[in-house]
């Protein structure tokens, strides 16, 4: 008789964990997935393309219903877990009877931060997190509403691009002096800004939101410098907060996220956590790649095999507002490192490779990301690159030509 394993949250991490478990521990667990989003797990990364009208809402579904069924997984979406009773190994579910588990996995993800400024609660202030948000933003865009997006990170840029593409006049506010400061160095961010502005999006840097004006509904955004931007809607995309409430109330150790060890185990031995809600070695990851690596490790562990998560070399590799952007490792290039830079503004490309003690330790690519995965491989494998240093900037094809017969 297989033991009940319950996953709270039906996002991308959950789906990947089920997939991995099916491969490594088929039949050992009776798996149930409970999530409060009213649909099957979907690819959150693609929400912006849905917003941009590049992808249909239903097309982003990760797995069809029968995929789950074939794996004997009970999927209960639209249900909210209200409490974990670690003692009795039981979950309380809003409007439902409790559910027992022998192993529990928290994949509760995160919530967009809402700035704590006057007016943040006005009607017309939204976030950009799930399909419901997308539907709402689409109606705004359709009505050509003037939108202010707060936050020049990945999420903000995605929202701004989607809205602009869908027809809304968009202004993007960013607190920092450059876009995506966690992924890009100054020249890269500057080039990205130019390319995004070419798409008709107005961008204000060093823009600190002071208050939101409006009588019941958003009318304008006021910045710390006193300037005022007329707006019909405001989207907060200035960071996320891991969803830790359940764990916290259950007495599980929590910092910013749910604290886990190298097998994704929380302070409560039968309870695990992964994805954006988990905090491993002090880091909460906001990207999908680490969640997938964590899922692989956790699945092996639950299958009783040796496994350990060492943390992820974070890399960003996607289209930001339709511009290819890649960033990995120590892309800023700290003490004792050397930087190789190739820039061609007219082609819209910027490439920076960081080398420390003969190894590639970081990279930023804008526009031309053809070799992104090769660079990432070099960074992860910590290979010596002296031999290919002169050519590596111009791509694997040139640096490592196929041996001619």
């Amino acid at each position: 008789m297989s033991e009940p394993l319950v996953i709270v949250g039906n996002g991308m991490a959950a789906a990947r964990l089920v997939d991995e478990l099916a491969k490594t521990a088929l039949g050992r667990y009776a798996v149930a997935v409970i999530g409060d989003e009213p649909r099957l797990a979907y690819n959150r990364v693609l929400l912006s393309s849905v917003l941009a009208g590049e992808t249909g809402s239903h097309e982003i579904e990760l797995r069809p219903a029968d995929w789950w069924r074939e794996r004997g997984v009970t999927v209960r979406y639209g249900y909210r877990v209200t409490e974990i009773d670690a003692g009795r190994r039981e979950l309380k579910i809003a409007g439902e009877e409790s559910m027992e588990y022998s192993k529990l996995v928290l994949a509760t993800g995160s919530t967009p931060l809402r700035l704590n400024v006057p007016g943040a609660d006005l009607a017309g202030v939204h976030t950009f997190r799930d399909t419901r948000d997308v539907d709402l933003l689409l109606t705004l865009a359709a009505a050509k509403k003037r939108v202010v997006v707060v936050g020049g990170g990945l999420l903000g840029l995605e929202a701004a691009y989607g809205l602009a593409k869908a027809g809304a006049p968009v202004t993007l506010l960013h607190l920092m002096d450059r876009l995506m400061e966690r992924q890009l160095d100054a020249p890269a961010a500057d080039l990205l800004k130019t390319l995004v502005e070419r798409k008709g999006i107005r961008i204000l840097l060093n823009a600190s939101t002071a208050r939101i004006h409006g009588d019941g509904h958003v009318e304008a955004v006021e910045l710390a410098d006193g300037s005022r931007i007329e707006a019909d809607a405001v989207i907060f995309a200035a960071g996320i907060r891991p969803n830790v409430a359940l764990a916290k109330e259950a007495g599980i150790a929590v910092n910013r996220g749910v604290v886990v060890n190298d097998v994704m185990q929380t302070s409560s031995s039968d309870i695990f956590a992964l994805g954006e809600c988990a905090e491993h070695r002090g880091t909460c990851y906001g990207l999908v790649e680490p969640a997938y690596e964590q899922a692989r490790v956790l699945a092996r562990h639950l299958a009783g095999r040796p496994a350990a998560y060492q943390g992820s070399v974070v890399s960003t590799n996607l289209k930001v507002s339709g511009v290819s952007v890649f960033s990995a490792g120590d892309f800023m290039g700290g003490q004792g490192s050397e930087s190789l830079v190739l820039s061609d503004r007219r082609r819209g490309t910027y490439k920076k490779l960081v080398i420390a003690d003969g190894r590639l330790t970081g990279a930023v690519l804008i526009g031309d990301t053809v070799d992104a995965l090769w660079y990432l491989e070099l960074i992860r494998n910590r290979d010596k690159v002296a031999a290919i240093r002169t050519d590596m900037m111009f791509g694997r094809a040139l640096a490592l030509p196929p041996k001619a017969a």
Binding site: L340, V341, L342, L398
Partner: protein, 900 residues
């Protein structure tokens, strides 16, 4: 303008480069350029052209041309009207002559001038201004041959003709790299060898391409030619190989000369000792010469450019006189002249030690010429020869100098001294066609725009005494005028109008011809009297004709086969040469001998050939050749840089380590100047010792030291316009398709390049920086076209400019090409074709090596595949070298060659 431009007809003219004097068919393209082909009817080349000749069409552009008269006012050159410029020149000359005498004025002419220009210049100075201070860059070229001929024959007669090269059974090259310097003749001799089995011997301190595939190579010690030929003379005498009758009837001075020869090299052993050759090689040479009746000895700058050049010439002539092998079909001494009209200059007497028309400064000659010219102030004594002339300028004795069509600040020995001397002139006139060569930079007071090749019209004479027409096929640009017109106008202003009222080159030629025949009666070799009565039309239609062309004489007359020398007693003279010694001591501080010469694809100081991208591609940088043993001894690395120091100057050059270079000697090419290289003014290195008879300087044995010179960075730049490069940089400028190329080496901080580029490039710039790796590359664009391209990198790896050049050529680069441009590698992954070997068809070393790897085992097979070597053939020796050095896995080939 009419639909069909009459100028677009094909014009028969003559190549302006070496003394072979090839016939050229030029067809203007109507856009200022011209299509060039060899003239199949011309007896010098029968349709062949060398790489330089083939590229003539690329060198007639007007970019670098001087188009208007200019006068220096308060330091700056300002455009003026012709009349003002000529008035100024005439007044200043008159003033200086009146104050300091006629000898304070001098002309320095060029083997590039047409005979008619030469004639007028010579007549004006020697007959009317009253000085023989008329010398020419031929002084640096073949004046030792002139002096040698005059001593032996009583006149400057070249007895041989090209036909002899077809009919000889033995061809002896002395100090001549004909394969590179007279390629078309050399191919003609190879044909003789192939068809008639003629054998070839090369005598040269360097194993040049001429020597790459010959029956015998004698790499003698520099300056010992006289010993070798003295030894030969003795050998001929002691082995019954003399033509006793010829000697008895037609010569004098035999005994003294032979006695002297015995002192210098009385035996094979003594000869070997004196020349550093093996006894066996010496004996072989002696035997081959002795046993071959039909032998032609060809000699060139290796003989002439020496402080004992005249003696070398006579040592050679002695052997031919002693065997009667002179002026006979297939048997003769033969001086190969370097310039298109050195011979024409000699014919009019445009040398300080000649008067006119092969007449010297003997009283009867002086009187004859005076009467013919109706000259008021005939020069009565020799003038100053080139080197002495510039020394006199430096001493302030000569105060006015007029330079025509040459580049003395580059080409004369101790060139820095010359450049300084020029600054002391009161009147410095330059008539030129290029605006900025080192001479023009040397601060002339007056610049006069002269017609260039393709625009001017007249005659030239080649190495075999053949007079050919240079004809205009392009319109005169700007206000440029023929040199003869400029001189005649000056003469009028000096008050000699009646004697210089020429209407055309034909007028002048007729007078020149008349003077050659004036009171001649066969007493003078140079006689073209039969051409005195040419009509203008006949002159225009004049076919190549070999002199003498005596009134009523038979064409194709040969000299000296039956004696008939032009000495007083009609006998040829044996001359006893001095014991050979090189001027200038080598020692611990100057352990090496510096040799100079030409390279295959460049001409003189590159003011013309430098305009051709094809010619620039073979050897783009000034270099020094050194033997591997010396290289290791002095720490010189192949393809590294080296500093060459003499007592006269310094150069920093690319080092080529070559087995062909003799131990203890260096070789540097003469072509580069301050215009196109920062540290390559080779003329500044060369000592100015001159030959006592010819005044020709010793240009091939200057004591020198060499040391490695390190550069941290190397790189190159390509640009549509000329660039002002940063200071303290070693650079060479090369013409490339679509613009200018610069190769450079640098020791300054890499960071100066981005700063420099900002000043040069526009908005649209792509950049690659790896300062840690010592690399900076950038390119600027206008639309899709590359405007400027800069590559800087560590010395060992500065990027491949061949690939970048191939992209620079295009008017637009694709996005993918732009993406890969700064990699310095071709996006197709196709390897670069490497440095150009065949300049005619632009075939690179890479392609050739591929063809060889692909099975081509002979130059012919390579030619069949790539066309390389099938035009001028001057790259064939290099092709053979590549075949020899390229690894070929195919076993059978090795077996075959072992068996064969």
């Amino acid at each position: 303008m009419t639909a069909i431009d009459p100028n677009l007809r094909t014009t028969k003219t003559t190549c302006p480069y070496c003394g072979v004097g090839c016939g050229v068919l030029a067809t203007p393209d109507g856009k200022g350029g011209a299509a060039i082909a060899g003239d199949p009817d011309h007896p010098a080349n029968f349709g062949r052209l060398c790489s330089k000749g083939s590229a003539l069409g690329e060198t007639v552009g007007l970019e670098s041309r001087l188009l208007y008269p200019m006068i220096r006012c308060k330091g700056v050159l300002e455009r003026v009207a012709w009349s003002d410029a000529l008035d100024h020149v005439a007044h200043r000359m008159q003033h200086i002559v009146a104050r300091d005498g006629a000898d304070a004025v001098a002309f320095y002419l060029s083997g590039q001038l047409l005979t008619e220009d030469y004639y007028v210049a010579n007549k004006l100075m020697k007959g009317f201004v009253g000085t023989a201070n008329v010398d020419t860059n031929s002084r640096l070229c073949m004046s030792s041959s002139v002096a040698g001929h005059r001593r032996a024959f009583g006149a400057d007669t070249v007895p041989g003709c090209y036909e002899d090269l077809d009919r000889a059974d033995l061809l002896v090259f002395v100090g001549s790299n004909a394969a590179w310097c007279h390629p078309v003749l050399f191919q003609r001799m190879l044909k003789n060898r192939g068809e008639r089995g003629a054998r070839m011997i090369v005598i040269d301190p360097r194993r040049t391409d001429t020597a790459s595939d010959v029956d015998l190579f004698l790499g003698l010690k520099p300056g010992t030619d006289t010993a070798l030929f003295s030894g030969l003379f003795v050998h001929l005498a002691d082995n019954g190989a003399l033509d006793q009758d010829y000697i008895a009837e037609n010569t004098s001075g035999f005994d003294d000369a032979l006695a002297r020869a015995r002192n210098i090299a009385g035996s094979v052993t003594a000869t070997a000792l004196a020349t550093g050759l093996s006894e066996q090689d010496v004996a072989t040479f002696f035997k081959m010469f002795r046993d071959t009746a039909k032998v032609v000895t060809l000699y060139s700058q290796g003989v002439n450019q020496s402080a004992q050049g005249t003696d070398k010439v006579n040592a050679i002539l002695n052997c031919h006189l002693a065997t009667g092998r002179i002026g006979k079909p297939g048997a003769s001494p033969f001086s190969l002249t370097g310039q298109p009209n050195a011979m024409g200059g000699r014919e009019v007497g445009g040398l300080a030690n000649m008067l006119a028309a092969h007449m010297g400064f003997t009283p009867p000659d002086i009187d004859r010429v005076r009467r013919f010219w109706k000259a008021p102030r005939i020069a009565t004594h020799e003038g100053l020869k080139a080197v002495q002339l510039f020394e006199a300028i430096n001493r302030g004795e000569v105060k006015a100098l007029w330079v025509m069509g040459t580049n003395p600040a580059v080409s004369l020995p101790d060139a820095d001294f010359v450049r300084a001397a020029l600054k002391k002139l009161e009147l410095f006139v330059v008539s030129e066609n290029v605006l900025s060569n080192d001479t023009v930079e040397a601060g002339p007071h007056v610049l006069l725009p002269a017609l260039a090749w393709g625009e001017k019209s007249g005659t030239v004479t080649n190495s075999e005494r053949r007079i050919s027409r240079q004809r205009a096929f392009l319109p005169a640009p700007g206000e440029a005028r023929p040199d003869w017109w400029i001189l005649s106008e000056t003469a009028k202003r000096l008050g000699f109008g009646d004697s210089f009222s020429y209407k055309s080159a034909a007028d002048i030629f007729r007078e020149h011809a008349a003077l050659s025949a004036f009171e001649n009666d066969g007493r003078r070799d140079f006689d073209i009297g039969a051409l005195t009565s040419l009509s203008d039309d006949a002159f225009d239609a004049l076919k190549p004709v070999q002199w003498p062309v005596r009134e009523g004489g038979t064409p194709g007359e040969r000299f000296f086969a039956q004696g008939g020398f032009f000495t007083n007693d009609g006998k040829g003279r044996f001359i006893a040469p001095e014991v050979p010694v090189l001027r200038g001591e080598t020692g611990p501080s100057r352990p090496l001998r510096l040799n100079t010469g030409r390279i295959r694809d460049q001409w003189h100081t590159m003011t013309r050939t430098g305009l051709s991208q094809r010619l620039g591609a073979h050897l783009p940088e000034p270099f020094v050749e050194i033997h591997p043993d010396d290289a290791s001894k002095y720490g010189i690395a192949h393809d590294g840089y080296a500093r060459i120091t003499t007592d006269y100057g310094q150069c920093i050059l690319k080092a080529l380590v070559s087995e062909g270079q003799q131990r203890g000697t260096l070789f540097v090419p003469i072509h580069w100047s301050a215009m196109n290289a920062s540290h390559g003014r080779v003329g500044a290195l060369v000592q100015s010792f001159t030959d006592p008879f010819s005044g020709q300087p010793e240009a091939k044995a200057t004591p020198a030291a060499i040391a490695p010179y390190e550069f941290v960075f190397r790189g190159f730049a390509l640009s549509r316009k000329q660039l002002e490069l940063p200071q303290n940089l070693l650079w060479t400028r090369v013409t490339v398709t679509g613009g200018f190329g610069y190769l450079f080496a640098d020791n300054a901080d890499l960071a100066r390049w981005p700063a420099w580029l900002e000043g040069v490039a526009g908005e649209d710039v792509a950049e690659y920086r790896d300062f840690g790796g010592g690399v900076y590359r950038a390119a600027s664009f206008a639309g899709d076209r590359i405007e400027t391209c800069l590559f800087v990198g560590p010395a060992h790896d500065a990027g491949d400019w061949e690939v970048v050049k191939s992209l620079f050529v295009a008017d637009q680069v694709t996005d993918d090409q732009r993406r890969m441009l700064l990699s310095g590698k071709s996006s197709e992954g196709a390897a670069s074709t490497g440095p150009i070997v065949c300049a005619c068809f632009g075939v690179g070393r890479g392609s050739i090596c591929d063809a060889i790897a692909g099975g081509a085992r002979t130059a012919a097979e390579i030619g069949a595949k790539l066309k390389a070597g099938t035009n001028c053939g001057s790259c064939i020796p290099e092709l053979k070298r590549l075949i020899a050095t390229t690894e070929v896995p195919a076993q059978p080939a090795k077996v075959a060659s072992a068996a064969g």
